[in-house]
């Protein structure tokens, strides 16, 4: 005889403001098999949980229905409470009165009626629940860090320093990311390379870190603690063991006019190249798309000059199979370029550049060795207009969000320019100055007060060229919307930060969610900012949203701790809500006829086949078998099974049927 306890939560006023919770509790209390129906303001709080635990013991409950919020957040909470009360945690169900009822309806009788219906379905369902035991799976204690920018570097080093193995995969030929392109960093103006390159070297030399550059994720299967990852190591056309990194090949390559990605197109590179002098690893790769040999079938100058004969033109891509326990995504971001802005000439003016290009101009290792020169004629600009919020916070451009880093780096850019060229005049057009961060506001004040950067509050409507000057037209909204026109030598656009190319594709390979701007989505905006919705996959840095260096580094360390915590256990427990094929006594063994229909529909490759043999070892029966480790409980196999031999723990056909019948019947 079932004895069900029902606990109706008010969720503060989230539910009780529209649903008459007392009426719900009373009506449910009258149902058959309901031993107790109680209500409380915050069921997830300690007194609320105690209420459940005590009731289980007092009324000897055989099932519990918590009528509260979506199970996403608090199902584990209440299952734990039930377990502490002495009830198998899988005999607890949640009725979602918040997202499915109170938040989406007006306050009236019908809403309360619907709430009662929702609870009734779960009461009927929980009667059919079975006690289940969690599944135990081993943990592979090796982490994968995708992306070798500052976030990836920090996460990899932190994990490696806890004693665990780390594999870092970076798609470009060197680690370092955007931070290696920066000249100085705010708010201290210390040199980016000086603080970054030692960490890059540390990654390369760390005994616990295996580094694969020029490599990309091919596929990811499996689940937390047990991922199977295929990595494509793109052919560098070079034997890395033999190559000494002398760089002779890069100086002799006849192909020299390829826009240099590291210099943001402000400089050129050969087809065999080391991206920048401090690259890690400091060995070249051949860019096959631009290499004369791969295009025309002859050249091989690099092979001829190489003193160690390290060039391998026929080297194939290599696929690595890795067993991975946890994944940190640190793939970073990109920025919009000047061609995104028709009002600023679709990128056709050479002296209208973006923020990263300015970083390269200001960098001591950049194409101009740190002298700020106009790309068009090499002259030092006598004045520069900096445009903040170029694209950001602009719904008309499809980018509603704030890119967060631009206010600070624009102030930095203006300061760097003024420090290098004292007579220069720097204007910054801005919407608001968002300098929330330690010593950030002080930094901006320094730009205004000490370096006399001219901040103009207003936006730029258009930029055009006239007599070799860039005419910048805008408005000064602090002076009554007066039109402003500046004849500038150079314009720097603080363009919006956007998701990196390939982010969407990677998210799909990893089965993690992403937002409408293709940034990776966190599991909870406040309480799980480092986790993704997929267990065992974590986020670090600007792949989640534009972030500055301190934020990226903090989050990377956060992700590393999550990984370390995971690796502190030898085994993981998983929810046993998985599919199973029925088993019967011989001679039937199972109603499954091994038709195999379930196999191709399973998105997780969790279905295997099983053979039953007699004493002579002869196969007398075949049936499907579900790998509990891989099954995610989606139920697709249940739906396709013709002989109804597969069912799902926790969501059996009978349970769903009971829910439907409950809705159809009057009570």
């Amino acid at each position: 005889m079932a004895r069900i306890g029902v606990f109706v939560c008010h969720c503060g006023e989230n539910i009780s403001a529209t649903v008459d919770c007392t009426k719900v509790a009373e009506s449910i209390g009258k149902l058959k098999h309901v031993a107790l129906s109680a209500e409380y303001k915050y069921m997830c709080s300690d007194p609320g949980q105690t209420l459940i635990k005590d009731a289980i013991r007092e009324h000897n409950l055989t099932g519990v229905v918590v009528s509260a919020c979506s199970p996403r957040m608090h199902e584990p909470t209440f299952r734990r409470a039930c377990a502490e009360g002495g009830l198998n945690p899988f005999l607890c169900e949640m009725a979602n009165l918040r997202e499915h009822c109170s938040w989406v309806h007006e306050k009236n009788d019908l809403t309360t009626e619907k709430a009662i219906d929702i609870v009734r379905t779960q009461v009927e369902k929980v009667k059919l629940n079975h006690a289940l035991q969690p599944i135990r799976v081993p943990v592979t204690k090796r982490a994968l860090v995708i992306g070798g920018g500052i976030a990836g570097i920090q996460a990899a080093l932190d994990i490696a320093n806890t004693g665990h193995k780390v594999v870092m995969v970076e798609r470009s030929p060197s680690i370092g990311g955007h931070m290696s392109q920066l000249s100085e960093t705010f708010p201290t103006l210390d040199c980016s390379q000086c603080i970054l390159t030692p960490r890059m070297v540390e990654v390369a030399q760390h005994p616990n870190i295996t580094l694969y550059t020029y490599a990309e994720i091919e596929s990811v299967e499996g689940f937390i603690g047990n991922f199977k990852v295929k990595v494509r190591k793109k052919a560098k056309s070079l034997d890395e063991k033999t190559c000494t990194g002398c760089g002779l090949c890069t100086t002799k390559c006849p192909q020299k006019k390829i826009p240099n990605e590291f210099e943001q197109g402000m400089g050129m590179r050969p087809a065999i190249y080391i991206p920048f002098p401090q690259a890690v690893p400091n060995k070249p790769v051949i860019d096959r798309e631009h290499c004369t040999y791969y295009i025309k079938g002859k050249c091989k100058v690099c092979e001829i000059v190489c003193p160690t004969k390290a060039i391998r033109f026929d080297q194939p891509d290599e696929i690595l199979d890795l067993d991975i326990g946890a994944i940190v995504i640190a793939t970073g971001f990109d920025i919009k370029h000047a061609d995104f802005f028709p009002e600023y000439g679709y990128g056709k003016y050479k002296d209208v550049i973006d923020g990263l290009q300015f970083e390269r101009l200001a960098s001591a290792s950049g194409p101009t060795s740190g002298v700020i020169q106009r790309p068009s004629d090499g002259q030092v600009p006598k004045n520069i207009v900096f445009v903040a919020c170029a694209g950001s916070r602009d719904p008309a451009k499809g980018i509603e969000y704030c890119s967060k880093i631009c206010c600070m780096y624009t102030a930095k850019h203006a300061m760097l320019y003024k420090h290098k060229f004292h007579e220069g005049k720097a204007y910054i057009f801005y919407m608001d100055i968002r300098a929330g961060g330690k010593n950030y506001e002080e930094f901006v004040r320094r730009a205004i007060e000490e370096d006399h950067v001219d901040y103009v509050r207003g936006r730029i409507s258009t930029i055009y060229e006239k007599n070799g000057k860039l005419i910048v037209k805008g408005a000064d909204t602090l002076l009554g919307g007066q039109p402003v026109e500046i004849s500038a030598d150079m314009v720097v656009l603080a363009t919006a930060g956007v998701a990196n190319s390939g982010a969407e594709e990677l998210a799909q390979k990893l089965h993690v969610s992403y937002d409408s701007h293709k940034f990776f989505a966190e599991a909870h905006p406040k309480l799980k900012p480092v986790e993704t919705n997929t267990a065992g996959i974590f986020l670090a840095g600007a792949c989640q949203n534009p972030k500055d260096i301190p934020d990226s580094v903090s989050q990377a360390s956060g992700a590393a701790v999550k990984v370390a915590a995971l690796f502190s256990q030898d085994e993981l427990t998983r929810e046993p809500l998985v599919a199973y094929v029925n088993r019967m006594a011989p001679p039937l063994y199972s109603t499954c006829v091994a038709c195999g229909l379930c196999k191709p529909v399973c998105p997780y490759q969790a279905i295997e086949s099983e053979e039953f043999k007699n004493r002579e070892g002869k196969v007398i029966k075949k049936a499907a078998k579900i790998n509990e480790g891989l099954c995610q409980g989606c139920g697709t196999c249940v739906a396709i099974c013709r002989s109804k031999s597969i069912d799902l723990h926790g969501y059996s056909n009978n349970q769903v049927y009971a829910e439907v019948v409950a809705l159809l019947n009057e009570y």
Binding site: P342, G345, Y346, T462, Y464, E465, K466, N467, I471
Partner: protein, 281 residues
């Protein structure tokens, strides 16, 4: 396909030259253009500043008349009329309730079936494909194509050309032998309706448009809007006084430029009506 024409007030008044050149082109290519019978004012700037229903009802009546006349499309040479008609068609399409209300106001049924095209679309559709061999006097000049505000904006409603850096006139002009110059003032404001009340503002703004075109060695400014034309051409004296300069660059409707390239006479395309002498073509 029956093509109608809605002239609006200016093509019968200050922009008769524009009207004459449109019909001259139609005649040269054997295109029929029937005027929308019993047409009324499009409401211009005045109506939508005063009363939204009025600003929709006036163009709606014109569109209804066009439907009654069985016109599949109507060419609207005036950029302001083109804008008002298209905005109305768009709003009534979006909001069926509004459409019914406006239908009641004008006491006519309105379906929104007549397609509205501007003069450049008309040239693109009917004249450019037939152009081969007909350009006997190529318009071999540097020109600045000036689009103004109403022809390409708002993009979400008109969906025509690029709002920041439009190209359609430049393309037509290059097809008749002209060389369009790089011209960033394509969509800058000419002063528009301030022509009457604050001529000094028009003199300033239109002056900038002219000054930039001249400085880029353009030999003519090409327009497709009566308002732009009157501000740049008729107000030239005011502009010259304001700027203390003597700007001489002529302002030519695109239909006139195409007509000249076909070998039509200056008189035929209405060039004699200009305030600034036209010595090109």
């Amino acid at each position: 396909m029956k093509t109608g024409i809605y002239p609006g007030c200016s093509l019968n008044g200050s922009a008769r030259d524009y009207n004459e050149s449109v019909f001259a082109l139609a005649e040269a290519f054997g295109l029929k253009l029937e005027q929308v019978a019993d047409w009324n004012c499009c409401g211009a700037t005045a109506a939508h500043n005063l009363n939204k229903d009025l600003s929709l009802a006036l163009p709606a009546r014109i569109l209804s008349l066009a439907e009654q006349n069985g016109m599949d499309e109507i060419i609207v040479p005036c950029a302001a009329c083109y804008n008002r008609l298209t905005v109305t068609q768009n709003e009534l399409k979006r909001d069926p309730e509004l459409k019914n209300r406006i239908s009641e106001v004008i006491e006519m049924s309105y379906n929104g079936t007549s397609q509205i095209i501007n003069v450049i679309e008309w040239i693109d559709k009917y004249i450019i494909p037939e152009l081969e061999g007909k350009v006997i006097k190529p318009f071999d000049r540097k020109v600045a194509c000036y689009y103004g505000c109403l022809l390409v904006r708002p993009y979400k409603v008109l969906g025509y050309d690029r709002p920041e850096d439009p190209q359609s006139m430049d393309i037509v002009m290059s097809k008749i032998g002209a060389t369009p110059v790089y011209y960033p003032f394509k969509t800058e404001c000419c002063g528009a309706g301030f022509s009457m009340s604050r001529t000094d503002i028009v003199a300033n703004l239109s002056g900038k448009i002219i000054e930039d075109a001249e400085s880029r060695s353009a030999e003519a400014i090409i327009v497709a809007c009566p308002m732009c034309h009157s501000n740049l051409d008729m107000r030239r004296d005011d502009i010259n006084k304001y700027w203390n300069k003597k700007f001489e660059i002529p302002v030519i409707f695109i239909t006139q430029a195409v007509g000249l390239a076909l070998g039509l006479s200056a008189e035929k395309v209405g060039l004699k009506r200009h305030f600034v002498d036209v010595n090109v073509g």
